[in-house]
Symmetry: C2
């Protein structure tokens, strides 16, 4: 007898047949005596279809308020259809748009943030035995304007509802059966994790494990909502994302290997080593709306320094132009860049209490003759930038070095 908030993404409700399958699944949960609140996305393809219409009508910048009015219809269609599929199975259900809940957000159209959720109406429906089906990704601002939370916002809706309703678990149904130690397409022995902490998941997500939206994980961590990633149409326990359990002394040092090949590296060489140089370089980059990831500044030699950072690969040329201008103004020697790089990271809360994790990583890479171009560390993560061509080799070497391979865990 638990209260579950279940989120089904666009692929899981992408056709009439799939909506029927989801309804069947929900029916079984109800039969087990659970209370169910469902959050759904638009049927796959629908949001893009609507955005396409908008771009045809208003090329360039679309009116943000009207974009939200437009795209929010996608989820509204799904909630109605899913309720019909439930009622066909004699499962009482009621649909709610974001505004009907109501999920109050700020007025930042197309990227609104949730401020408050009214739960009384939903609680009454739950008490009367109804399944509640809520349109993900949308809300209303205090003036009643329709808002959306931005791409992937349905995960956030699910977590926010689970927090507001004090649900036992927020279950994110998707097209993978959990979070893996690394990408199974790169490492054959990659294993599904039973449990991962919010912090680890954040590092994994931001590094390219696109299972969950970062905002949803942050939200879940903040409100301590247990979050579970499961496959929509396969049985299995999935991966539970939860707060750190201090009692788990046997927890592996490293939970997973994340990687990202979407980055490019730029270096301003021979920058005068005076205070304020970093902001003089990154200020113009930021003003050009370019996001910076890893930043490394080498120790100064002969009163100059080399300043290196990575950006998204799509921003490589734009960043180069900005830097050439900056380099001239600063009297720097030159700007060099490389867009054939990859970032590989080891992630795990266990490394806090274990010295030598970083050196073990560097050793494993050295054993494969992989040169490390940049290093960046945080409390639960060590990232290195290497040449892109070594990416798969590096991931496999690290996966094995940290005993994450399926074979290893069986043999030990």
């Amino acid at each position: 007898m638990a209260l579950y908030v279940q989120k089904y993404g666009g692929t899981s409700v992408g056709s009439v047949d799939r909506i029927d399958a989801v309804a069947e699944k929900i029916k079984r949960f109800k039969e087990q005596g659970h209370d169910i609140v469902v959050v759904v996305s638009a049927m796959s393809g629908e949001t893009n279809r609507l955005i396409g219409l908008a771009k045809e009508i208003q090329p360039g910048a679309q009116s943000p308020r009207e974009m939200d009015v437009l795209v929010s219809t996608g989820e509204q269609v799904t909630i109605a259809l899913l309720c019909m599929a439930l009622e066909k199975r004699c499962v009482p259900a009621r649909s709610y748009t974001g505004g009907q809940v109501k999920i109050v957000t700020d007025s930042s159209h197309t990227k609104a943030r949730i401020q408050d959720i009214e739960v009384s109406s939903m609680q009454q429906d739950l008490a009367e035995g109804r399944v509640i089906v809520v349109a993900g990704f949308q809300g209303v601002d205090p003036d009643g304007n329709i808002t959306t939370l931005g791409r992937g916002g349905s995960d956030t809706t699910g977590v926010a509802l689970a927090a507001a309703l004090k649900a036992d678990e927020c279950q994110i149904y998707t097209d993978v059966d959990g979070v893996y130690t690394t990408d199974p397409r790169v490492v054959e022995g990659a294993q599904r994790l039973d449990v991962i902490t919010f912090e680890e998941m954040l590092e994994m997500a931001s590094l390219g494990s696109k299972v969950l939206q970062i905002r949803a994980v942050e939200f879940a961590g903040k409100y301590k909502v247990p979050l579970r990633v499961l496959h929509s149409f396969q049985e299995g326990p999935g991966t539970l994302i939860t707060i750190e359990d201090d009692s788990a002394v046997e927890k592996p040092i490293i939970s997973g290997i994340a990687f990202n090949r979407d980055e490019a590296k730029l270096t301003v060489m021979g920058v005068p080593d005076v205070p304020g140089v970093a902001s003089k370089i990154l200020g113009p980059v930021s003003r050009a709306n370019i996001e910076v990831d890893v930043i490394v500044q080498n120790v100064a030699a002969d009163n100059t320094t080399d300043f290196t950072f990575t950006v998204h690969r799509n921003d490589y040329e734009a960043t180069e132009q900005v830097l050439n201008q900056v380099a001239t103004e600063l009297g720097a020697r030159e700007v060099v860049g490389d867009n054939k790089i990859a970032k590989v990271s080891i992630v795990g809360v266990g490394m806090r209490s274990h010295a030598g994790v970083a050196s073990k990583m560097f050793d494993a890479l050295a054993d494969e003759n992989i040169n490390i171009q940049m290093i960046s560390t945080s409390e639960i993560k060590v990232s290195v930038v290497i040449a892109e061509k070594y990416l798969e080799l590096a991931v496999r070497a690290l996966h094995s070095a940290f005993d994450l391979d399926a074979n290893d865990s069986v043999s030990e």
Copy 2:
């Protein structure tokens, strides 16, 4: 400097190009200094697509509440796209769903009736120079559930908004350029009417001139909202539907010839002529959800009577079954029917003050050797039922007899 409520139907907003054309048209009205409130339908085909999805998910009876949640998305898409098209033209605009206005209805899902409209927010937008774009066909009940007004309800939304905002005119843009004396496909000389009264329009509409929804005309008549039918993409004055102007002494006796070939006729022969027979016959028909149109009971002879009425042709077989049962119970002689009939009506407020209109009609039909099977009259209408094969002949003969032909009006 007038306030116009303009309604554009599904065909008028059926594509991105057409939405652009509508926006261009609205821009011109704004440039002339008018205040504009626009009501739009779903893009043509969209409502049927959504209903198709619902029927796939839930064959048989769909949940009415969820149907309204589903189909109301159609208009919501259009309001957003039209606002974008207006903003692209630097015409400030704001979209409103039925719930945002808010248009409060009763809770009869899929066929709700409007109870109240809040105007303060719209009035403020108008004062600030914005075009208001409202989703037609939809509202919310007092509990915030989404409702729809039923097919064609966008006309009703337009009229209701015009009444609430005290607009100078409610303009219904459609794919015809006005109301005609009769169907131009049947009578070449059919003429567009400049003016028609609400009562005449009601009789014309209910008889098959599908230019306007009956409910909208009733609503406009009740609140004395001047209603104008115009072509969406052709210039022209259209037809003004208004209250009767007593000063127009030269008004023609007959405004138009309406007809309908969707009916079938059934007669219960030899019914005992005792009180209560009519309800004994029509009660079971009504309980079978069959709507009855013209009813005629012949004068009794030898203590029995013949009872005749018309139904929609689709209900012919069902009605026949009901009547066979009833005839047995009543001891009637037999049930005979004919589904190859048509109804032709002359309509005009002028006939109130002119004797001989009916006989002129009967003469004109007799001249063409057309036998009249049933006659039914109201204050401003005379209807006859004839064999379907004579329909076109009858309409042309009457159009000419009542001087409605374009040539006649020029020569006189």
